[in-house]
Symmetry: C2
Subunit: 84 residues, 2 copies
């Protein structure tokens, strides 16, 4: 299969992966079992992947990681708010 | 900064990101708030990233995603066992 297609599907899957988790914590209003440290480490890594993608001019890496940053930022915000 | 260094740090961060989450569910023995659908979608996406890395011969993408597959597989196994 074409490399671009593999990259596109991979990007869509890892970008949207956190959506069910986000929906789950919003519905149950419970995020106690979610590790905030995991989200912070993940966000740092994903941001660096965006930078790596820009340097390599690889739009699959840039777009999928940028979207994943947004979803994980929302999840982190919800976790912090729900624990207050 | 060198592209390889950025890719290496990004890879280490996203690979190890799920470790605190894995340790947290093992310690608390509670994984009710973890979305199994998120883990399945994430695992599919990460596996495709490994494939993409192989096709692009990019070892940062291969290694970091292969390690992330292992950590997330352990987390999924623990979630399934703890719910039984």
């Amino acid at each position: 299969m074409n490399t671009d297609v593999i990259g596109l599907i991979a990007g869509v899957l890892t970008s949207f992966a956190m959506m069910p988790q986000l929906i789950k914590v919003i519905r149950t209003r419970n995020a106690d079992d979610i590790s905030i440290l995991t989200l912070i480490v993940l966000l740092s890594g994903l941001s660096l992947w965006v930078w790596y993608g820009i340097m390599k001019q690889d739009w699959q890496i840039i777009l999928s990681n940028a979207f994943a940053v947004l979803v994980n930022l929302s999840l982190l915000a919800y976790c912090i708010i729900s624990r207050k």
